[in-house]
Structures are given as C-alpha cells and as structure tokens.
C-alpha cells in the first residue's frame, strides 16, 4: 500500500527526539519520584516504534544499527551485576549504596548503585519491546 505520509515523517523527526529526551528525564527522575528504568525504557521504545511507523524497518535499521537481543543481554548484565557487586563487599545480595559527588557543570549530585541496576532495566525493556515488535513486524 502506498500513501502519502510526509506529515507523519516530518513530525516524527522532531517528536521522537522529544519523547526520547523526556524518557531520559523520567529515567533519572525515577530515583526519588515517579519514573525509573521501566517506564523510561517503555517511552524510549515508543519513540522507536514511532520511527518504525513513519519510516520502514530498513531505514530505521540503517539509522540505528542496534541488535536489540544483545541490548537485552547487556541490560541483564547490568542488573545482575549490581547484585553480584555486593559479594565483594560482603553485604547481602542486591544491597545498594549511594554517595554525593561534585561535577563540573551540574554541581553536587547524588549517585547510587541503584542507577546502574535501573540502567539495566532500561536496556532490557527497550531490548525486549523492540525484539517483539520487530519479530511481529517482519512476519508480514
């Protein structure tokens, strides 16, 4: 089926970046307030799905040559890895810790090991969602 989707494509070029930025914001927001890796990951995959809808699968694959299955695996490594880290400090499995660090531009920030875990969740969610969507999309 051929139809004119110039509006969708033009809008998508902006919107998908906005969604992605908002997803990143939500991801960092998640430590103390609503948000986090799961919802951030879902929003990012929503941005990617919008790209897939507006353009075709080949174009998106050329723009973002990512193997989503490997992405899932890397996310799992992050998530499990933060748990395993507690072995080296003889703390109970999955223990978390945090500290305050000074950054040049951003000023003082709180960094936690939960962030690494959440990053893992973020990657797993994108990886899984995109693997499913690509598999379904390829079938026709």
């Amino acid at each position: 089926m051929k139809y004119n989707d110039i509006i969708l494509q033009t809008v998508t070029k902006f919107i998908s970046f906005l969604i992605f930025l908002f997803a990143v914001y939500i991801f960092f927001n998640g430590h103390q307030e609503p948000g986090g890796g799961f919802i951030g990951g879902l929003m990012t995959s929503a941005a990617l799905v919008l790209l897939l809808l507006a353009f075709d699968m080949e174009t998106v694959r050329r723009a973002l040559p990512i193997d989503y299955k490997i992405m899932t695996a890397i996310g799992l490594v992050f998530a499990v890895g933060t748990g395993v880290g507690s072995f080296f400090f003889s703390a109970p499995f999955l223990s978390q810790t945090f500290g305050y660090f000074h950054f040049p531009v951003l000023g003082e920030l709180e960094l936690t090991t939960t962030l690494a875990f959440d990053l893992g969740v973020y990657l797993v969610v994108i990886g899984t969602a995109m693997t499913i969507i690509q598999t379904i999309g390829e079938d026709n």
Binding site: I70, A73, V77, G83, S86, P92, F93, L94
Partner: protein
C-alpha cells in the same frame, strides 16, 4: 557466607545471560552450559552439607530485614531440592547435545534452560510468598519459551493450552496472595505462620488455603486439574519433556508442602481431608491413563500424575513418617522421571516411533538401554532395594499411622499397576520379536547413554545409600512437621 544461598539461583541466571551473547556458536554454548551446571552441582552440595551441620541459613536480600524485605531461607528441604535439581539438569543438558538439534541450540535453548533452573531453584529457596509467585513466573516464562521452542505444529497447539492454563492459575495465585495479605498483613512465610495461627479457626483462612490448593494443584497436576499435562509434556522434544516432568510439577508439590505445613497448619480438618481424597483420586486416574495408553511417551506422562498422588498423600497424612516418605519419594521421583524420559527418548530415536506396537526386540541391538530401563522401571515401582522403595515404605507407614488404610490400599494397588504399565513397555518394546534389523535402526543412541547411566546410578544410590540420605531427609521433614524452627530462623528476635 549467607550470600552463598543466592548462588543456586545466580549461577544459572548468569550462565543464561552470558549465553545470550554468542547464540550461534553451538560448541561454545554446549561447553558453557555443561561447565556451569557442574559448578551449580558443586555449590549445591556444599550448601547442603553446610546447612545440615549449621542449621537453617537465611539471606535478607538487599539488607532489608525480615519480615519487611524478601528473605531466602535455606533449610534442608529447600537445599535437598535445589541439589537434586542441579543433579538432574546436568545429564539433561548433556542429553540435549545430541538430540535437541542445532537449530534449537542456536535460538537460545541453553539460555532458556538455565533461566528455568534459576526459577525452579528460586521457588525452592524463597521465604516470601509473593517472591514465590515471581519465581513461578520466571520458570513459567522460560517453560513457555521451551515448550514452543522449534515451533512444530503440535508443539504450538499444546503450548497454547499450557500458556492459558498457567496464566489463569497465576491470576488465581495473585488473588490468593492478595486475600492472604488482606487478612494477615504480611507476605513473609514465617510471619504468615504466626499470624495465621493467631487468627485461629477463621473460615476465611480455610478458603484461602483451598484457593492455594487449586493454584498449586494446577501447577502440580493434581486431580481434577491435571488435564493440561499429558499433551504439553509429551509434545516437546525429549530433553524438554524430561526437565518438565522432573521439575515443574514438583515445584507445585513443593509449594503445597510449604504452605500446608508452615502456614495452614492450624485448621487441618477440611483442607487436609480434601487433599487426602484428591491424592487418592489422582493416583487412580493417573494409573488408569498409564495402563490405557499404548504410546510410550503418554504412559510415562501419566506416571508423572500417579507420583503426584503418592507424594501429596504424605502431606495429607501429616505426621513425620509420612513427610519423610513424601520428601524421599519426591526427590527420587525427580531423578527417576528424568531417567525414564531420557530412556524413552533414546528408545524412540532407535525405534523411530513412539507407538508400542511399532517397536520390539530392542534388547538385541541396545542391551545397555534395555537393562537401564528395567532397573528404572523397578525403581519407579518401588521394588527394594532400589530408589523408590524407602520413600514408598515410609509413605505407607505414615499413612497407616494416620489411619488412612483405604488410601494406603489404593496406593499399593496403584504401585502394582504402575509396575505393570512400565513392564509392558519392557516386554513388548525391549523383549519380543525384533522389528528392525541392525541396519534399519533409526539413529545411534551411543551419545545418549552417559546421562541415562548417570541418572540410573543416582536413583540406585538413593536406594542403596538410604542410610546416607536419611539424616538429610529427616531434618527436612523436621522443619515441615515443626515449623517453629523455620519461623525462628527467619524472624529471630524480630517477631
């Protein structure tokens, strides 16, 4: 030290994740899966001996104290089961090398397999009922992937049933957990034990207990909730069927063990009577199926159901002899079902069919396989001194102590018929007139023999080494019959 308790879950989890990175390198996948399962066995045996000498071990995940956080509780029962799981996983992985097919191996077969083991071990170890649900979901997701793996037509048809049944029962599980939380205000099993006994004889507790019986009955294939099992266990490839038959129903049974001894141990009149009747009917239905079918895979699958009846009879009898028997039988059943499935898988490879009428005289070309089958058949039926005997003996003793003579009689008859159902395979399939000449054999089964021999030896050890096994099993039964020790180990001074 207490961090060691997470390793039975963590090792297969990491093994599965690492295997995701190189799906197309089949040899590397095999070597990696084999090595990690060896490590898993070692860690489990270490934990088992450590717990036997030092008492129940607990791990508060993330440092959150029980009852607020999630605890992992390693008592003898849990670690005996994780050890047996690891011991069964290794030979089945080895069996997969030659039977599962390169195509499946390239599509994350070993990763799913490892995730399944991680879920099963987690379900055995967790001390939190919601976490038990999570572990169930982990193992079920892996099993959904495995049952449909390869995507043949019959597999997809049966996996659809399997998924629907399990999704529904998981929904009931969450509902049951929600009720329990609403009534008691906690999800920690040790604290549940205290709160439920404080609540005493409130009828709502009995309702929740029966709701859980339905949920775990569905997972464990208890009558009348076994209908999904024959189809979904017989269609996937042998290695997958073997791990399902060995482990998945056992997780449901284990959950009944736990909930019915630690949590719902006050008002036993209604719940345990229901359990008693259902276990007797399960034996009868299972054995009828085992005799009626003439397809070797289905005969075995129905024997899985009979075993569920035997084991739960021990829980219904509710005394320490019966629990010893039930645990012993449970452990042996994990091993022997894996062994029999692998043997039948090899038999089908050699004969080229699963129909009993199409095979015969296998002893001529496969003597070792024949005798392995013969020993396993006797062990399954509980002929002394093989592995099934001590468990069955203690079940009978415990049942008689509790005064359930009728069910004991049913069990005896069912045992005989189980023996008949498998000996029929022996007489017709292995003895009898040879159907095929040597040249006509459908496939070599040489590579499939080591895991079979390993499992049969393990089963024999459980019979001949009953003296060595007994202290472990007795201490496992002790925590079931007297959950006080379990509660104190988890809550300590915080209760």
């Amino acid at each position: 030290m207490s961090n060691w308790l997470i390793l039975p879950v963590l090792i297969p989890l990491i093994a599965g994740i690492v295997a995701l990175f190189f799906p197309k390198h089949v040899t590397a996948q095999r070597v990696w899966a084999f090595i990690t399962s060896m490590i898993l066995i070692g860690v489990n045996i270490f934990l088992l001996t450590y717990i036997l000498s030092n008492g129940i071990m607990t791990l508060e995940l993330g440092g959150w104290e029980a009852p607020f956080g999630i605890v992992f509780v390693g008592d003898s029962l849990a670690t005996l089961l994780t050890t047996t799981t690891a011991l069964v996983a290794l030979p089945i992985i080895y069996f997969s090398f030659s039977t599962i097919g390169v195509e499946r191996e390239k599509y994350y077969y070993y990763s799913f397999f490892q995730f399944l083991i991680a879920g099963v071990s987690g379900a055995f170890l967790t001390g939190d009922i919601f976490n038990l649900f999570v572990c169930f979901e982990v193992l079920l997701l892996a099993s959904y992937a495995l049952i449909g793996h390869g995507g043949t037509k019959t597999q997809l048809k049966e996996s659809f049933n399997y998924v629907i049944v399990n999704v529904v029962s998981s929904a009931f599980f969450v509902i049951g957990v929600a009720y329990l939380y609403a009534v008691t205000g906690t999800l920690n099993m040790a604290q549940l034990s205290e709160r439920v006994s404080e609540a005493g004889s409130e009828p709502i507790i009995t309702v929740i207990a029966i709701l859980f019986l339905i949920v775990f009955g569905l997972k464990g294939a208890l009558f009348p909730l076994y209908f999904w099992l024959p189809g979904s266990y017989s269609v996937p490839p042998t290695a997958i069927g073997a791990i399902f038959a060995a482990l998945l129903t056992k997780v449901g049974i284990y959950s009944i063990f736990r909930t019915y001894s630690v949590i719902f141990n006050e008002e036993t009149a209604v719940t345990h009577t229901i359990l008693l009747v259902l276990s007797a009917v399960t034996m009868i239905i299972g054995v009828i199926g085992a005799i009626a079918y003439r397809d070797v895979k289905l005969i075995l699958v129905y024997n899985v159901i009979v075993a569920v009846g035997f084991i739960l009879f021990g829980v219904a009898s509710l005394n320490s002899d019966a629990f010893v028997g039930a645990i012993y039988y449970l452990l042996h059943d994990i091993v022997i079902k894996a062994a029999l499935f692998l043997i039948i898988g090899a038999l089908i490879t050699a004969a080229g069919t699963s129909k009993l009428s199409g095979m015969g005289g296998m002893i001529k070309h496969h003597p070792l396989l024949t005798w392995m089958f013969f020993i396993s058949a006797l062990a399954l039926a509980g002929i002394p001194p093989l592995g099934g005997f001590p468990g069955k003996l203690m079940l009978v003793v415990g049942g008689a102590e509790a005064g359930h003579y009728i069910v004991v009689a049913v069990m005896m008859v069912a045992s005989l018929l189980v023996l008949y159902s498998v000996i029929r395979i022996f007489l017709q399939g292995f003895l009898g007139e040879p159907m095929l000449t040597h040249a006509e054999q459908h496939g070599s089964i040489k590579a499939q023999m080591p895991p079979i021999v390993f499992l049969v030896a393990l089963s024999a050890f459980m019979g001949f080494g009953a003296e060595i096994m007994y202290p472990f099993v007795e201490s496992a039964a002790e925590t079931l019959i007297n959950p006080r020790a379990y509660v104190e180990a988890v809550l300590g001074g915080n209760s």
